[in-house]
C-alpha cells in the first residue's frame, strides 16, 4: 500500500459519523434511525449533518419507542434494508431487549437462513462523564451472552470507523458500543472513504514480556496508563484492546498470555457474569500450563453503577490496575 490515502483528524464520535456518512453514500439500503438523530444530529452529535445530506427518509427521527423502532428496524432488515439503529444511551436499550433477544438474534437460525437481520444497533455506554443515573451502564455482557448477535466495542477513532463499516456490511446483527468517555478525549488520523476492520480481531497496543493487560472500550486508556506506570517500575506489559467482545479474539489472547504467563483483565462492568470471565475461560482452555500466576480481574462491582458522586469509586482506575499488575508479577 503505497498509494497516499487522504486522512482527517477526527475524534471517535466524528469517526462514527464518518462511517455512517460513508455507507449512506455507498449503499442505498443503509439508513439511520433513532431518537433525535435528525435535525438535532443525535444527543452526542453522532449523526450531525446526516439528515441534511441524506434527507428525512434515510435519517429518521423516530418516536420515543426503543421496542418500536428496533422492532421496525428488524422488519426493514428482513425486507431489504440495512438499518443503523441509534439507542440514545445503552441504559435505555432495555425496552428493545426483547426485540433483540427474541428476534434479531435468532431469526436466521429459526428460519434456517431464510430470513436474516443485518442491522447495527449503536449505543454510547459507560460511566465517568458525570452523567445522570442510568446513563452510565456498561451491560455488554447481557449481549455477549445472547446467541446470534456480535458485540463490537472500539476505543479509538480509526477502529471505530473501520469496525462500524464492517458492522454495517455484516450479514448479521451487530451491537456497536461506543465508549462515551472516549467520544472526544483524543483525535487521530482517519482515512477518508471506505475501509473495514475485521470483527473478531483484537489489537496489540504495546509489547511487553512480563504481563498481559486486556481491556476494551473506555478501559483501554486506563490499561495503557497503568502499563506506562508499570514500565517505570521495570514491568513490561503487553496491552490488548479486544475491540470485539463477541466473538473474542482467542488467538491473540492465547498468543500473548502464553508469552507472559500473567494476565490482568480490566472491565468497567460488574464482576459477576462479565466478559472478563469469558477471557479467563479462554486462558484456561488454551494456555493453562503457561500460567505463572492467577488471572487478575479489575472490574466494576456487583452494584448498580452508582450516581456520579460515587462513580469514581466504582470505575477501575490506573492505580487499581497497576496494583493488580504488581500482584500478578510478584505472585
Amino acid at each position: 500500500m503505497t498509494m497516499a490515502v487522504k486522512t482527517n483528524t477526527l475524534t471517535l464520535v466524528q469517526a462514527v459519523t464518518d462511517a455512517m456518512r460513508t455507507m449512506l453514500r455507498e449503499r442505498d439500503d443503509v439508513l439511520v434511525l433513532g431518537e433525535d438523530v435528525g435535525k438535532n444530529g443525535g444527543v452526542f452529535r453522532a449523526t450531525d449533518g446526516l439528515q441534511a445530506e441524506f434527507g428525512e427518509d434515510r435519517v429518521i427521527d423516530t418516536p420515543l419507542s426503543e421496542a418500536g423502532f428496533t422492532g421496525a428496524a428488524i422488519g426493514m432488515a428482513v425486507n431489504g434494508f440495512r438499518p443503523i439503529v441509534e439507542i440514545q444511551f445503552l441504559g435505555f436499550i432495555y425496552p428493545a431487549y426483547e426485540q433483540i433477544m427474541t428476534h434479531a438474534s435468532r431469526i436466521r437460525s429459526r428460519t434456517m437462513g431464510h430470513f436474516t437481520v443485518p442491522i447495527v444497533i449503536r449505543a454510547p455506554y459507560g460511566a465517568g462523564v458525570r452523567a445522570p443515573e442510568i446513563h452510565c451502564d456498561s451491560t455488554e455482557a447481557l449481549f455477549t451472552h445472547m446467541p446470534g448477535i456480535k458485540v463490537v466495542c472500539p476505543s479509538t477513532p480509526y477502529d471505530a470507523k473501520g469496525l462500524l463499516i464492517a458492522a454495517i456490511e455484516d450479514p448479521d446483527p451487530v451491537l456497536f458500543l461506543e465508549p462515551m468517555r472516549c467520544y472526544r478525549s483524543s483525535r487521530e488520523e482517519v482515512p477518508e472513504g471506505k475501509y473495514t476492520i475485521e470483527i473478531g480481531k483484537g489489537k496489540k497496543l504495546r509489547e511487553g514480556d512480563d504481563v498481559t493487560v486486556i481491556a476494551w472500550g473506555a478501559m483501554v486508556p486506563v490499561a495503557m496508563k497503568a502499563a506506562e506506570e508499570a514500565a517505570k517500575k521495570g514491568i513490561q506489559a503487553d496491552v490488548i484492546d479486544l475491540r470485539t467482545l463477541y466473538p473474542l479474539d482467542r488467538d491473540l489472547i492465547a498468543e500473548s498470555v502464553q508469552k507472559t504467563g500473567r494476565t490482568v483483565i480490566v472491565q468497567e462492568a460488574h464482576a459477576t457474569g462479565g466478559v472478563a470471565n469469558d477471557i479467563v475461560s479462554i486462558i484456561n482452555d488454551t494456555s493453562f500450563l503457561y500460567q505463572k500466576a492467577p488471572v487478575e480481574r479489575v472490574t466494576g462491582f456487583d452494584v448498580p453503577v452508582p450516581f456520579f458522586a460515587l462513580e469514581d469509586y466504582y470505575l477501575p482506575t490506573p492505580e487499581r490496575v497497576l496494583h493488580a499488575i504488581e500482584k500478578a508479577v510478584k505472585f
Partner: protein, 356 residues
C-alpha cells in the same frame, strides 16, 4: 378529536376568569398559595440552571414554563397520596413537600436525592421514559386493595406516550380500576422531536378512549384549570371510579437539559413569544390584579422569602457530608451477598493500602 377533547381553561391568557362557576372557590388565599408555589418553583429552577453552569451540580433538567402544570396538579393532592415524578417534575415534588436540599442532592449525583422526607410517598424521579406509569397503577391499586381513599399521580411527557409502558400502565390501571391520575405534561417536544413527529394523533387525551377511561385536556399554563381538573380526577379515583388521563398543554422555555442546545432544532423566538403571551405566573398575576387579590409588597415578600429558602437549601447541599464509597455496596440487598461483601472488603483494603 380536538373538538371531542377541548382544551379547558379557567382563566385566559389575560387572566380573565372564563369559567365563572369557579369564582366562589378561588379565594384570595388560594390564589396567593398558587402564586407562592409558582414563584418558589421558578426561583428554584433558575437557581439550578445557574448552579449547573458554575459546576456546583451536574446536568440539570429545567422546567421553566411548566410551573402551573406541576404546581396546580401537586396542590390538588392530599397528604397521603402517592407521587411518581420524572426528572423534570421536581416542581411538583417540592410543592408536594419534598425537601429542596434533597432535590439538589439528586442533581449533585447523590442517592440521598431519591429519599423523600419521612411520610411522603414520593418516588425517585424516573429516568427511563414511561417506566413509572405501571408503578403508579400498582401503588394505586394497592391503596384500593387496602381499602384507603388514597390515590396516586404519575407525571410524564408527550414523548413518553410512545413507549409501551405508557399503554401498559393505562391498560392495567383501567382493568384494575386503580385510583391513579396519569398526568401528562405535553410540552410539545421530546428533546428535539416535536409532537407532530412523535404521534399522528391530534391529542394525547384521546388515547384514554382506547382504555375506556376519562381523558381531559387542560391548558397547562392555567394553574386554576390544572388544579380543578386534577382535583376532579382524584375525586373520581377516591370514589372508586378508576383512572383518568390528563393532558396539560404547556411549553418548556429552555433546553431539554443543560447538556442540550435547543437552537439546533427549534427557533427559540417561539419561547419568547409564549413567555410574553401565556406565562403561567404572569397569567396568575393578571388574574389576581383583576380580582383585587394583588398586593405588590406581599409579592415582593414572597420573592424574598422563596429566595432565602432556596439559598438555605443550597448551603445545606454544599455542606452535606461527602458521599462514602461504602454506600454503593451497602444498599443493594438487605443482606449483602458474598460477592458484594468480598468486593467491598477488598476495595477498602486496597484503599487503605494505597494511602501511602
Amino acid at each position: 378529536m380536538e373538538q371531542q377533547f377541548p382544551m379547558i381553561q379557567v382563566m385566559n391568557n389575560d387572566g380573565e376568569l372564563v369559567m365563572t362557576e369557579y369564582r366562589e372557590q378561588i379565594t384570595k388565599e388560594l390564589a396567593m398559595t398558587f402564586y407562592r408555589h409558582l414563584m418558589r418553583t421558578r426561583t428554584f429552577d433558575r437557581k439550578c440552571v445557574s448552579l449547573q453552569r458554575q459546576g456546583r451540580i451536574g446536568t440539570y433538567a429545567p422546567y421553566e414554563g411548566q410551573e402551573a402544570a406541576q404546581v396546580g396538579s401537586a396542590l390538588a393532592l392530599k397528604d397521603d397520596d402517592w407521587l411518581f415524578p420524572t426528572y423534570r417534575d421536581h416542581g411538583a415534588t417540592m410543592t408536594f413537600g419534598h425537601s429542596l436540599t434533597r432535590i439538589l442532592l439528586y442533581w449533585r449525583g447523590r442517592n440521598e436525592g431519591c429519599v423523600p422526607p419521612n411520610g411522603k410517598k414520593i418516588f425517585p424521579p424516573s429516568v427511563p421514559i414511561a417506566t413509572q406509569l405501571p408503578h403508579a397503577a400498582g401503588a394505586a391499586y394497592a391503596e384500593k386493595r387496602k381499602g384507603t381513599k388514597n390515590a396516586a399521580i404519575v407525571y410524564f411527557g408527550d414523548g413518553a406516550t410512545s413507549e409501551g409502558d405508557f399503554h401498559e400502565g393505562l391498560n392495567i390501571a383501567s382493568v384494575f380500576q386503580a385510583p391513579v391520575v396519569f398526568f401528562n405534561q405535553n410540552n410539545q417536544y421530546a428533546i428535539s422531536v416535536p409532537i407532530t413527529k412523535q404521534m399522528n394523533s391530534q391529542t394525547i387525551a384521546q388515547k384514554a378512549l382506547a382504555y375506556d377511561i376519562p381523558g381531559v385536556r387542560v391548558d397547562g399554563n392555567d394553574v386554576l384549570a390544572v388544579y380543578f381538573e386534577t382535583q376532579k380526577a382524584l375525586e373520581r379515583a377516591r370514589n372508586g371510579e378508576g383512572p383518568t388521563l390528563i393532558e396539560a398543554i404547556t411549553w418548556r422555555y429552555g433546553a431539554h437539559t443543560t447538556a442540550d442546545d435547543p437552537t439546533k432544532y427549534r427557533n427559540q423566538d417561539e419561547s419568547k413569544k409564549r413567555r410574553e403571551l401565556a406565562d403561567p405566573i404572569q397569567r396568575l398575576e393578571r388574574f389576581m390584579k383583576r380580582e383585587g387579590f394583588w398586593d405588590e409588597t406581599w409579592a415582593q415578600s414572597v420573592q424574598e422569602e422563596v429566595g432565602r429558602e432556596v439559598e438555605q437549601a443550597i448551603t445545606e447541599m454544599e455542606n452535606y457530608p461527602e458521599a462514602k464509597s461504602d454506600d454503593m455496596f451497602d444498599y443493594v440487598f438487605a443482606q449483602p451477598t458474598w460477592t458484594i461483601e468480598q468486593q467491598k472488603n477488598e476495595y477498602n483494603a486496597w484503599k487503605r493500602g494505597s494511602i501511602r
